[in-house]
């Protein structure tokens, strides 16, 4: 039944998440919220790179636009939370549209360079305008969970619900978009832009559209990320965030949304697993400081070397193989 009706699948999964969130402790709930945020951010990169063939190393900057837009609209206009998230997505989409206009003219490494420079340049703007709150940033308070959820309902559970719901909606929507005319044109542009052009697809416009949508999702992720840390500041969107998201996208499998959870869970879980493992031993500072980075990097290297298309795609290809045999 679930196979025929994906919507039911998503609703079912949402229910599972809901039940789980009542069963696990606060730390897991918080980490779950972070995973949901990463799911959206990684999906936005998969959409951009995997489906439209453009590379962004500066998605952190788009997340920052979303985070700041949400905080500003909430702090200054007192807009409701859901509207703040919409504004975040729209503001980042606008930024992405402008960037996309430039991006459509640039090929691979030039685009990578431009987005990288944006990720370095943009956060320093926060110190130029006092409304952006400088280095310490702005508060972003989405308020307490509604009273009817009960007194035991924690803030982190509330974050988790919001982020998970957003992630479910985004993935469901993206899934449909990918199967629509737009998705097909993007894929056509990705695999062969000259052929796509010949087939009557406006390559430039499609690339800009993909960038805009991707940026909008990144902006939503940025606002949700700001929600989890209740503040927004330039330091929250460093270059390493952009790199981590690109990493997560590759770990998930850049060409398919199917594995999007893998990258998100890995980004959240690996540092903690390494941390816990280390705390069992009396490890020296040098080991404690460098082992997490070493393991994440090693995992990344092994993934790109041996399953560059991501684990999901790998399994699928193997299955296809078996079917044809």
């Amino acid at each position: 039944m679930l196979k025929k009706h994906p919507l039911l699948g998503f609703i079912f999964f949402g229910l599972v998440l809901f039940l789980v969130s009542n069963r696990v402790d606060e730390l897991r709930v918080f980490q779950g919220a972070t995973v949901a945020v990463y799911v959206i951010a990684i999906a936005s990169i998969i959409l951009l790179t995997g489906y439209s063939g453009q590379v962004s190393l500066g998605h952190g900057a788009l997340l920052a636009i979303g985070g700041y837009a949400a905080a500003l609209s909430r702090n200054h206009w007192g807009v409701p939370v859901w509207l703040a998230f919409c504004i975040a997505a729209l503001a980042a989409a606008l930024g992405g549209y402008l960037l996309g206009l430039a991006a459509a003219r640039l090929s691979g490494p030039y685009l990578a360079g431009t987005t990288l420079a944006l990720a370095i340049g943009l956060p320093s703007i926060a110190n130029q305008f006092s409304i952006l709150g400088g280095e310490q940033g702005l508060a972003f308070d989405i308020g307490l969970p509604p009273a009817f959820l009960g007194a035991d309902f924690t803030q982190y559970k509330w974050f988790f619900w919001i982020a998970s719901l957003a992630a479910l909606i985004v993935i469901y929507w993206l899934r449909n978009v990918m199967n629509s005319r737009y998705g097909r044109s993007w894929k056509a542009v990705r695999s062969n832009d000259v052929a796509a052009e010949l087939a009557g697809i406006n390559v430039g416009r499609n690339k800009v559209l993909a960038f805009t949508v991707s940026a909008g999702l990144a902006g939503l992720a940025g606002a949700l990320l700001a929600m989890t840390i209740s503040t927004v500041s330039p330091g929250a969107f460093p270059l390493t965030l952009s790199f981590s998201l690109a990493t997560g996208a590759v770990l998930s499998g850049i060409t398919t949304l199917g594995g999007v959870m893998i990258g998100a869970v890995t980004l959240v879980a690996i540092p903690e697993i390494v941390d816990s493992a280390l705390s069992r031993f009396q490890s020296s500072d040098v080991v404690a400081n460098n082992l997490p980075g070493l393991l994440v990097s090693a995992l990344l290297i092994l993934t790109v070397l041996f399953v560059p298309n991501g684990p999901v795609e790998q399994l699928r290809t193997r299955q296809e193989h078996r079917v044809t045999q």
Binding site: L27, V35, S230, S233, P234, A236, G258, M261, V312, R316
Partner: protein, 432 residues
């Protein structure tokens, strides 16, 4: 067929993730506050151990741990041994929140201690709801004056004097000493520098030349040279440096390269002569005669009883590391934490600890040369500075041969010379 498989996979991977999330079960809740047993106290710190902000700061936890171990070896605090859980936050607020959550929810620490960086401290406080949960955040390492506000941050205690205080005291000094000179200010163009600008304004000081720099840009090859070029062109005689220590190094290195002589006045953050001297001995010559501001005794002052103790503890714990301002900062932080825990008595609770610091904090034994300002309404630590001059070896020596301390507040209060005399160190450096 294929699509179905993919869907199944998506679902499986999702369920796997859920399983991973549920993997750790909830330990039983104790009735008393977490992190305290009859024989132990667990504290946690998030600090940049790796990443671009880490050099220097990553010595702080080691220094704290060295002092805690020293206390533990001497019987602990009211019979309890202190363990310090160290988490690397890479100076990224999101990571800091994630790590603080691990400390609070998984490691179950009794209190946070020594959180570093304004943005990270703010994010941790807001997201983990320290105030609502009553979790003490002891002695945060940031000069942002806001954390001293007991209403906004009821469980957070700052330890450093604010940047604004420093600028006010420095401003008064500049006015008295160099009123007829051409002044220039090099400052980091973020909250750190903005607070300083506000302080200088209050002191009625205007500079002939303002040189702001973006945080991080001091490490670009042209930056320091650009500053010196601008200072030269404006004929600056006195240069105030209100930046991080890599900025001080860049400025001194390039002054050396351009053979540009000026009267340097270094703020406390960037005035770590040990770091500058370790970079290149030639720069020490340029430091000679520079003015420096500090609230703690200079790490080179072996006549100071605290420094003597800290040096011997640190040399035993970390024999390969140099003893510098970061080590003094970490040890002082740990000392004050032990003092607070000791004063809170053997029936240790979070609320009790906070009350104790508010009630008795101002009279705590501590290494700083300026009075502590803890009260029920203000959670401010050191409240002033002493002024010194760097000698030919790069050591900061107090002007006039003895520590003269100036105190002020982060508001409109005046700068006054204080008669404060630091109480003698408790026997063996163990708070009582």
């Amino acid at each position: 067929m294929i699509r179905i498989n993919r869907q199944k996979l998506a679902l499986t991977s999702a369920l796997l993730a859920v399983a991973a999330l549920t993997a750790s079960s909830l330990p039983a809740q104790a009735s008393s506050d977490p992190g305290v047993t009859a024989t132990s106290i667990k504290l946690g710190i998030t600090v940049p151990m790796t990443g671009i902000a880490s050099p220097g700061y990553n010595k702080i936890p080691g220094a704290m741990k060295a002092y805690f171990d020293y206390v533990n070896d001497n019987g602990g605090v009211n019979g309890r041994k202190i363990t310090l859980v160290i988490k690397d936050d890479q100076y990224i607020p999101t990571t800091a929140v994630a790590k603080a959550n691990e400390l609070i929810l998984k490691d179950k620490v009794f209190a946070l201690v020594g959180t570093l960086g304004t943005a990270s401290t703010k994010a941790i406080s807001a997201s983990t709801q320290l105030a609502k949960r009553g979790i003490p955040s002891l002695f945060v390492n940031t000069g942002f004056s806001g954390f001293a506000d007991a209403k906004a941050y009821p469980t957070t205690f700052s330890i450093l004097p604010s940047y604004q205080m420093e600028a006010k005291i420095m401003g008064k000094y500049l006015k008295e000493k160099y009123a007829d000179k051409k002044l220039a200010l090099i400052y980091q163009d973020d909250d750190f520098g903005r607070d300083a600008l506000a302080g200088f304004k209050q002191a009625g000081i205007t500079f002939g030349t303002y040189i702001p720099y973006a945080s991080g840009s001091q490490s670009l090859p042209a930056t320091g040279a650009g500053w010196i070029s601008a200072l030269k062109a404006s004929g600056t005689e006195v240069t105030v440096l209100f930046g991080v220590s890599s900025a001080s190094t860049a400025a001194l290195a390039n002054a050396y390269a351009a053979q540009f002589k000026t009267q340097w006045v270094l703020g406390s953050v960037g005035g770590d002569a040990t770091t500058i001297a370790a970079t290149n001995k030639a720069y020490v010559g340029f430091l000679y005669g520079a003015k420096g501001f500090s609230f703690a005794p200079a790490p080179t002052d072996a006549t100071d009883e605290y420094i003597k103790l800290f040096q011997s503890i640190y040399a035993a714990a970390q024999p390969t590391q140099t003893f510098d301002n970061n080590v003094v900062a970490g040890m002082s932080n740990a000392f004050l934490a032990v003092q607070a825990l000791k004063a809170a008595g053997s029936d240790l609770t979070r609320a009790g600890l906070i009350k104790t610091i508010e009630a008795k904090g101002a009279s705590f034994a501590n290494p700083f040369l300026t009075p502590l300002g803890y009260s029920a309404s203000a959670h401010i630590g050191a409240t002033g500075y002493w002024i010194g001059t760097y000698d030919p070896t790069g050591a900061l020596k107090p002007d006039g041969g003895k520590y003269t301390v100036y105190t002020t507040d982060s508001g409109n209060g005046p700068v006054v010379e204080s008669s404060y005399k630091r109480p003698a160190m408790p026997a063996k450096g163990l708070p009582n």
